[in-house]
């Protein structure tokens, strides 16, 4: 890596990176403003913009690959946004290997999920609105990863939050959906406070908020300032990525249509926190404390998600907690600094494939089962939905880290660099990540068994059937990614080489545990997890109703380890109480005192209220009185 924050001017095709944002944004505007006359073509417009975007993205990445050494990051200022004195905020694009990877993921997976949604949303009368919001999301997400400064990033950051809100609440007649959307927005805002204050700190200390200036000046900052910046950015990242302690909104977000869960709440938006930290590498490189905080958040979250994921019966919620857990792995890796940045992005990509595929598979199951999500009412679906079953199984193998599937490469690397970070913390991080791999194998095997294997436990009106090709083809494509992406990105087109201009060369490390040992141990732990699920779930009949007499551990896990209960009792109820108390004080206290004072002044206001004419007279009188005061004062000045 050269000096942090030195970017070349964009020219030629690369100067059109802004179109990546513009095309879906126009799509969203057309779909929203076009009204009902676009109802018939809305989904086609929505898909066309994203497919076009993907083609453009491929061309741009090819152009970037052809750039000379040292010019692999190009920037392009679009317009002056907030110019006030020394503050000069521009809107601009930064296209470098890191944003390129995200652009491909967002437009590629985005296009597949858009196409899938044609089938999934076919019977929804508001399908045009759905595609408008999805286009809006893609535009905002691309702005997030393409912005060349923290303010541009923040605009995209909030934009994806809005799109997420709109899409979680898409079926807003359901109170649960409306509440989940609001919860997501509010909890994200808590994180946003961290990000926006970080921006204030940057301006206060460096006089700029652009990546170029911030990274170039970072080394001159006081150590405490850098750590504060790192922790503030981490708070923002936790909100967007559903990491402890701001994780509670993500599982609730499953109230949205399943393609939304796949694209926004699995593959792309929720990984924005990882992007934020990776992008801010020049800051995190300077603060050990901030990096450690990131790894600890990652470890806690990956364990939390894995434990809770074992206890839920709702197929989407299990996948959601799995997402929470897998992003925990990414946080763990990205917090390890130069050794982990590329590893985190690798896991982010493979997760993007297999988790999007798994969600689309879950959607396909729901599509064939009258929108049922309770796995206790599934069973034996493998024979009814062959394509869904096979693609889902490939995603499953990838997620649990079955040897040589995509997830195997990336998760193994995360565990490896965790051990390699050294010291006691290294053992804790590596051991925790390995343990969670076993838990992952358990809950995913449980999900597979309950859904596709065993005897059917369907409701009487269920007629499971395979989904149409418009849905299964995207699932097949994603499952290919789940199988091969890891191998390709490690051995054929190494991601770490591609990202070297951003993160610098990977440091040489002395392995604490030999990689082969890590691989073997992890595989054994995973096998144990699969075996446990087989033993406890597959060998016996799955009850249609969840058992009531269970151990306290399972009870706690079913209540997501009391995460929601904590939020309710610590924030929500006291907040409601405080609000009520203050309304009372404002009405009785402050206003009461004023009214009392007015009444004390001869009860004028009471009498005035009775007749308006009387009031006008008094008003004229008071004006007259005022004029008198003025006149007397003037005379006093003049003759006094």
């Amino acid at each position: 890596m050269e000096i942090p924050g030195t970017y070349a001017e964009a020219s030629g095709l690369l100067a059109s990176a802004w179109l990546l944002v513009g095309i879906p944004l126009i799509g969203a505007a057309v779909l929203l403003l076009g009204g009902r006359r676009l109802d018939k073509a809305g989904h086609l417009i929505g898909c066309a913009t994203i497919v076009l975007d993907f083609v453009l993205a491929v061309a741009l990445v090819a152009a970037l690959a052809g750039q000379d050494e040292g010019e692999k990051a190009v920037t392009d200022t679009l317009f002056s946004f907030i110019p006030v004195g020394e503050l000069q905020v521009d809107i601009g694009m930064l296209f470098d290997p890191l944003s390129a990877v995200f652009v491909l993921l967002i437009t590629g997976v985005g296009a597949l999920i858009h196409i899938y949604s044609i089938g999934y949303m076919a019977h929804d009368r508001a399908r045009r609105r759905f595609f408008a919001y999805m286009n809006l999301f893609v535009a905002a997400m691309l702005l997030l990863v393409l912005g060349n400064g923290y303010v541009t990033l923040y605009i995209g950051w909030e934009g994806v939050g809005l799109a997420s809100y709109l899409l979680i609440a898409f079926w807003y007649r359901r109170p649960a959906a409306a509440t989940a959307a609001k919860k997501a927005f509010i909890m994200n805002r808590v994180g946003d406070v961290g990000l926006i204050i970080a921006i204030f700190v940057m301006f206060a200390t460096l006089g700029s908020t652009s990546f170029a200036d911030v990274f170039a000046g970072a080394s001159g900052l006081a150590a405490g300032t850098v750590t504060a910046l790192g922790l503030l950015l981490l708070l923002g990242a936790c909100g967007k990525s559903g990491q402890v302690p701001l994780q509670a909104w993500l599982p609730d977000a499953m109230e949205g249509p399943t393609p939304v869960s796949a694209l926004i709440h699995a593959a792309t938006m929720v990984t924005a926190g990882v992007y934020l930290i990776a992008r801010s590498a020049p800051l995190f490189d300077l603060s050990e404390t901030a990096r450690t905080a990131v790894t600890v958040v990652g470890l806690v979250t990956l364990l939390y998600g894995a434990i809770v994921g074992c206890a839920y019966d709702d197929i989407k919620k299990v996948l959601a907690y799995s997402t929470v857990s897998q992003i925990g792995y990414m946080f763990l890796a990205v917090g390890l600094g130069p050794a982990g940045y590329a590893v985190a992005i690798l896991h982010l990509l493979t997760h993007g494939f297999f988790k999007a595929g798994l969600f689309l598979g879950a959607g396909s199951v729901m599509h064939g089962m009258n929108d049922e999500v309770d796995m206790r009412k599934f069973g034996g679906l493998g024979s009814k939905m062959r394509i869904t079953y096979i693609t889902f199984a490939l995603g499953y193998l990838s997620l649990i880290g079955f040897p040589f599937f995509s997830g195997y490469f990336s998760k193994d690397l995360v565990i490896e660099v965790a051990f390699d970070s050294g010291g006691t913390l290294g053992w804790i991080l590596g051991g925790g990540a390995m343990l969670a791999a076993g838990l992952t194998a358990f809950y995913m095997t449980r999900l597979m068994v309950m859904t596709f294997l065993g005897r059917p436990r369907w409701d009487s009106d269920a007629h499971p059937h395979e989904s149409p090709a418009v849905m299964t083809v995207p699932m097949v494509v994603l499952s290919l990614g789940s199988v091969f992406a890891g191998f390709i990105l490690v051995n054929v087109l190494p991601l770490s080489d591609w990202l070297e201009p951003v993160f610098g060369p990977e440091p040489e490390v002395d392995h604490v545990v030999a990689p082969i040992v890590v691989s073997i141990l992890t595989t054994i732990v995973v096998a144990l997890g699969v075996g446990a699920a087989w033993f406890f779930v597959a060998r016996r009949e799955v009850p249609v109703r969840p058992p009531v007499n269970v151990s306290p551990v399972i009870k706690a896990a079913r209540a997501n380890l009391y995460g929601d209960a904590f939020n309710e009792s610590v924030f929500m109820r006291p907040g409601q109480w405080l609000t009520r108390a203050m309304v009372y004080v404002d009405n009785r206290g402050i206003d009461g005192a004023v009214n009392g004072l007015a009444a004390g002044l001869g009860g004028t206001s009471g009498r005035l209220r009775r007749t308006q004419t009387g009031f006008v007279r008094s008003y004229a009188l008071s004006i007259l009185g005022g004029a008198l005061v003025v006149t007397v004062a003037f005379l006093a000045v003049r003759f006094g």
């Binding site: 929203l32 317009f79 002056s80 946004f81 907030i82 110019p83 006030v84 004195g85 020394e86 503050l87 605009i155 909030e158 934009g159 809005l162 809100y165 807003y172 007649r173 109170p175 409306a178 509440t179 959307a181 609001k182 927005f185 509010i186 805002r189 808590v190 406070v193 926006i196 204050i197 921006i199 204030f200 700190v201 301006f203 206060a204 200390t205 006089g207 405080l578 609000t579 009520r580 203050m582 309304v583 404002d586 402050i590 206003d591 004023v594 007015a598 206001s605 005035l608 209220r609 308006q612 009031f615 008003y619 008071s622 004006i623 005022g626 003025v630 004062a633 003037f634 000045v637 003049r638």
Partner: protein
């Protein structure tokens, strides 16, 4: 064109038309409202032309006109605008035609069992007179003239609330009037005091802003005079704890009146801070700033918490304004270019977005005949356009990037972070609360199952779209490209900051320390 007497014409046009409307027979509704609409649109065009003609890098006050008025006391009828006053007049120009459109049937039902006494003729007459006086209060560069407008604008607003408002309109109108009158009288004392000081300092008493700005006043006397102005403006703005008249007035006023009351008239308070308190009393401003900042931050959090607790939609919007006025005061008294510019832009943006919010709430109330949030539910399913407009206005109110309010809130918080990081951080927490009160109201009214009372709701009519869509468009345009307004505001704010002696470099590096 810059010799054109914009300000005089801008005031006389609505004033004369407003009075002229009284000569139109009361039942000629179409003549009355169309005349009001045409005149307000002409005013809008003129304000836009004036904004284009304004030279940001030119003299501080432009379009200056000055006529002797009360020569014995040195009172002159002096008009002129700096960048701050200019954007406020532009805001008036935008909002009044919108309000005319929204009040199209106001007073048409006078006397028919509604208990409202006002007729359409008086409504539009008062409305146009109010517009003239509001333009005057921002355009005055003679402090006595300012005081006259400051008091006079109460009269049309009093009648708009008292004759056309909700069930408790009399109470609200009197409360509004008394609060303002008390503030005005206190300010009058300071105005006279200033005159006396100027008489002593330069031998000849004057009310001219530019002359008064240049005399140096004894710091202790400054504090007294400052407080006179400050209290009047703090009541008007309003800052906590001078705020309790606003929820009543905002809730009881007719929608059009509420828009102008909260959108423009209250801004005279924050405008007054910038125009009068800071330049005339720099030492006192600096001395009182920390205490005022405490009130500002208190207002942000207090207003937001109270907004959350409201069950009445109009009161809720009024309380959100108290929080927003806290942000403006924070920006004014942080004494940095960014925060000050943000505060002025906030004044404009708040007028637009709260105006839109009031108008949409007004549409809801016109359908459901209730101000209670709990009476609505599921409106989004029956009136999607209405819901969409509500959401956009709400997102602006919670300062989502991409909407106008983000830019101003960002500037205020960023600009105050340097000198006052603790206040800035506390105020930033307010953005979480803003999301809560807006989204709670949105969810309760627009989401969920369709309530029986909501069934059969009509979506936005053409007329409603016509007056709402300009505001919604401005929300987006100013959110994406605020530069033209910033370029006008920043030089005026810089001039104000150098009046108050704020160290410009303090915007950076936080070198004034924390608290």
């Amino acid at each position: 064109m810059s010799d054109f007497p914009y300000l005089l014409v801008l005031m006389l046009l609505p004033l004369v038309t407003g009075l002229g409307l009284l000569a139109v027979p009361e039942h000629r509704h179409d003549v009355i409202r169309r005349a009001a609409l045409v005149v307000s649109l002409v005013v809008l065009v003129l304000t836009v032309l004036m904004t284009v003609a304004f030279e940001p890098s030119g003299p501080r006050f432009q379009f200056v006109q000055s006529y002797p008025w009360i020569p014995d006391f040195g009172v002159r009828f002096s008009l002129g605008v700096d960048g701050i006053a200019l954007v406020m007049i532009l805001l008036i120009g935008v909002l009044v035609p919108v309000v005319v459109g929204a009040s199209w049937n106001e007073g048409a039902d006078a006397g028919r069992g509604t208990g409202k006494s006002g007729s359409m003729r008086t409504f539009f007459s008062w409305l146009l007179v109010l517009e003239a006086l509001l333009i005057g209060v921002f355009a005055a560069t003679d402090i006595f003239l300012f005081y006259v407008f400051f008091e006079a604008m109460l009269v049309p607003m009093y009648f708009l609330i008292g004759s056309f408002g909700g069930p408790r309109r009399q109470y609200a109108a009197v409360k509004f009037f008394l609060y303002s009158l008390v503030g005005g009288l206190i300010m009058l004392a300071s105005v006279i005091g200033l005159y006396v000081v100027s008489a002593n300092e330069i031998g000849q008493g004057t009310f001219a802003f530019d002359a008064l700005r240049q005399i140096s006043i004894d710091p202790d006397l400054q504090k007294l005079l400052f407080l006179g102005f400050f209290i009047a403006f703090a009541i008007k703005a309003p800052l906590v704890p001078f705020h309790t008249w606003l929820p009543d007035a905002g809730a009881e006023a007719p929608i059009g009146g509420a828009v102008l009351l909260v959108g423009v008239l209250d801004k005279v308070g924050t405008f007054g801070f910038l125009r009068y308190c800071l330049p005339l009393f720099p030492d006192a401003s600096r001395a009182f700033a920390p205490a005022i900042l405490v009130l500002a931050v208190l207002g942000i959090l207090y207003g937001a918490l109270l907004a959350m607790g409201q069950t009445d939609m109009k009161r809720l919007v009024a309380y959100t304004s108290i929080a927003h006025f806290g942000f403006i005061a924070l920006g004014v008294f942080a004494f940095t270019t960014q925060a000050g510019t943000g505060a002025v832009l906030y004044m404009v943006n708040h007028g637009i977005s709260t105006g839109a919010l009031f108008l949409i709430v007004g549409v809801l109330i016109s359908r459901g005949k209730s101000r209670t949030i709990g009476d609505y539910g599921g409106v989004g399913s029956v009136a999607p356009l209405l819901a969409g407009a509500f959401l956009l206005a709400g997102l602006s109110s919670l300062a989502l990037p991409g909407t106008n309010s983000f830019v101003s809130e960002f500037l205020v918080l960023l600009g105050s972070f340097g000198p006052y990081p603790v206040f800035s951080i506390l105020a930033t927490v307010g953005i979480i609360l803003a999301a809560l009160y807006i989204l709670l109201m949105y969810q309760r009214t627009m989401h969920g199952p369709i309530k029986p009372a909501v069934r059969g709701f009509k979506d936005l009519s053409k007329r409603e779209m016509a007056y709402l869509s300009p505001l919604l468009a401005v929300i987006i345009v100013l959110g994406v490209y605020p530069k033209p307004l910033l370029d006008i505001i920043t030089p005026a704010v810089n001039a104000t900051m150098s009046d108050v002696g704020a160290d410009q470099s303090s915007a950076q590096a936080g070198n004034e320390g924390g608290d």
